[in-house]
Amino acid sequence: METPFSQALEERMQALMARYPARRSALVPMLIYAQDEVGHLSPAAVKRIATLLGETELAVREVIGYYSMLRTEPAGRFHVQVCTNISCLLRGGDELMEHCQHRLGIANRETTGDGVFSLEEVECLGACSWAPAVQVNYDFHQELTPERLDQVLDAYAARAKAGAQ
């Protein structure tokens, strides 16, 4: 059996497929958890999921293309997602997005040369009453100012540095 996934993830996928009256129902969760482990939905990941479900790769890709969290290209180790939707807009979301672009030296949907950070302007994160908000990977950072965001990004940069040593 050829798989790009760990044993634990393979087992998890089997468990996911058993939760539903039809295993195809598990597709979106399988894609998300595969992306979490691999970093993106690589051709090997797509192929494996298609095989597990008995679907064509095309059917899987068609679904990937619909969901904004799913990606077929790698992102940075820390994916910085800045909400600029209405509640965040009124509390400085645009300024945070601009601040990130300057500090990281990249535009929306780009990754830094060292692969540590990627940046994305995103739609409402569900943090409206704690706006403005940024999500880094799955972690929420709320009620931010450019200064507080700097501290947040400093901490991630330090983690990347520690990890590289």
Partner: protein
């Protein structure tokens, strides 16, 4: 943990300040599963009757009476029935379900089991937006605890009733909060809405009779069963039973999520709970119930009572409970553009008026905001919006058109002030980021 504001009436949020209420032990120590015990003594019809009596209306946005929705499910069905919890909270301005998922996940589980008893379903799924990963993990943990203690699975608590629930992650799609699109997504497909009828109560997930309710709606069920429908109904005005979580955001001093009885005066929420307008500015506009609801000018909003029928009288909606306050320094053209940018991004592309209409509106609003607009653009945008309205498979098209029409109507002069090369009077530095 969130401490209650003195003006709050905490029913659904009563465990938000109880440490450990998200664990089974903590839940049981705080009346947990008492409603289920009681519901086991009721017939399915009696459960539905109690929910009808409570006046509970859907807390996701549409405000449909919950008991009536449950009563539409056929008693006999050759196909399996399902209970779905819509935890895809994505309506801009809305962040309340997140708190219920975080502080009181067992209330959702208990509400779903009771719903299962009422309609004769044995399986449920909680569809949680993918960005709420920590809450999906927390819910999985709560479900496992419930399973281990015999509150889920075969023969629940020895009462001869089987019910299983799983959490299910989304992957970033506003449209999947629409009930039929959610079911498509739950079947492992693109989240495209279905043509209705048939409605989910007849043919939903996997073609089986399905009820789908918002997180807050389901979490309201246990207190209704414990205390009775009349008790819940008495909190609000007629036909607007109960309390509700409101998410206050925007230009107020203290943003926050507050639970108050329906009919609560907006003015008190802003002044006393929100600490008044930020920087002493004046209110210009209000989003009463999430980004899809028509905006109200300050003079209308100021005297508003927060219940379904009062807001409907103003031509808007109580919607999802997302209240966004805009002060006098807000550029309404920019605000309209940001709303449309969102709906254009989230339009699934299935039907033409929504897909094309939102794209053209974004292009026109960008042009006007950047100073390149012509006199004819204002009526053109109005016309495009009105041609989306009511002409789409699902409510996303309306959700894009309604706020746009209201802004064009109430703040037309602001559009005029941007026309023919004039810079944005509010000095907005950048136009909204390019489409992606």
């Amino acid at each position: 943990m969130t401490k209650p504001h003195p003006l709050e009436t905490r029913v659904v949020s009563r465990r938000f300040d109880q440490p450990g209420a998200h664990t089974l032990a903590g839940y049981l120590a705080s009346d947990g599963f008492k409603a289920l015990e009681k519901a086991f003594g009721y017939t399915p019809d009696a459960i539905i009757e109690e929910v009808k009596k409570s006046g509970l209306r859907g807390r996701g946005g549409a405000g449909f009476p919950t008991g009536m929705k449950w009563s539409f499910v056929p008693k006999q069905s050759p196909r399996a029935k399902y209970v779905l919890c819509n935890a895809d909270e994505s309506e801009p301005g809305t962040c309340k379900d997140r708190l219920i998922l975080e502080y009181d996940p067992f209330a959702i589980i208990e509400g779903m089991i009771i719903a299962g008893l009422a309609i004769g379903a044995h399986r449920g799924y909680i569809y949680i937006r993918g960005e709420y990963r920590y809450l999906i993990d927390r819910m999985e943990q709560a479900l496992q605890e419930a399973r281990d203690a015999g509150y889920l699975g075969k023969n629940i608590r020895g009462r001869g009733f089987d019910f299983e629930i799983h959490a299910h992650t989304g992957a970033g799609a506003y449209e999947c909060g629409e009930e039929s699109a959610l079911m498509e997504s739950l079947e492992g497909k693109r989240g495209i809405p279905r043509l209705k009828p048939p409605f989910p109560a007849v043919s939903g997930y996997m073609g089986g009779p399905t009820i789908i309710n918002n997180v807050e709606t389901l979490a309201s069920v246990p207190p209704i069963i414990i205390n009775g429908g009349d008790w819940f109904a008495a909190f609000g005005p007629p036909k607007n039973g109960g309390t509700r979580l409101f998410c206050l955001s925007g230009h107020v001093n203290n943003q926050g999520v507050f639970e108050v009885p329906l009919g609560f005066p907006l003015r008190r929420m802003i002044e006393e709970m929100g600490g008044g307008m930020r920087n002493g500015a004046k209110m210009k506009a209000l989003v009463p119930g999430g980004s899809s609801t028509p905006l109200l000018p300050a003079d209308v909003a100021w005297n508003l009572n927060l219940d379904f029928d009062s807001v409907a009288k103003t031509g808007s909606f109580l919607g999802s409970g997302g209240i966004v306050v805009l002060d006098e320094n807000t550029c309404m053209v920019k605000f309209a553009l940001r709303i449309i940018q969102f709906y254009r991004h989230e339009s699934c592309g299935w039907c033409v008026p929504c897909r094309e209409g939102t794209s053209w509106l974004q292009a026109s609003l960008t042009r006007v905001h950047d100073g390149g607009g012509r006199d004819a653009d204002i009526d053109l945008m109005r016309q495009v919006s009105e041609n989306i309205l009511g002409r789409t498979f699902c409510a996303l098209g309306d959700a894009a058109a309604m706020p746009t029409i209201s802004i064009l109507q109430h703040w037309r002069q602001e559009f005029v002030d941007h026309l023919n090369g004039k810079p944005c009077p509010y000095g907005a530095k950048t136009s909204v980021a390019a489409a992606h």
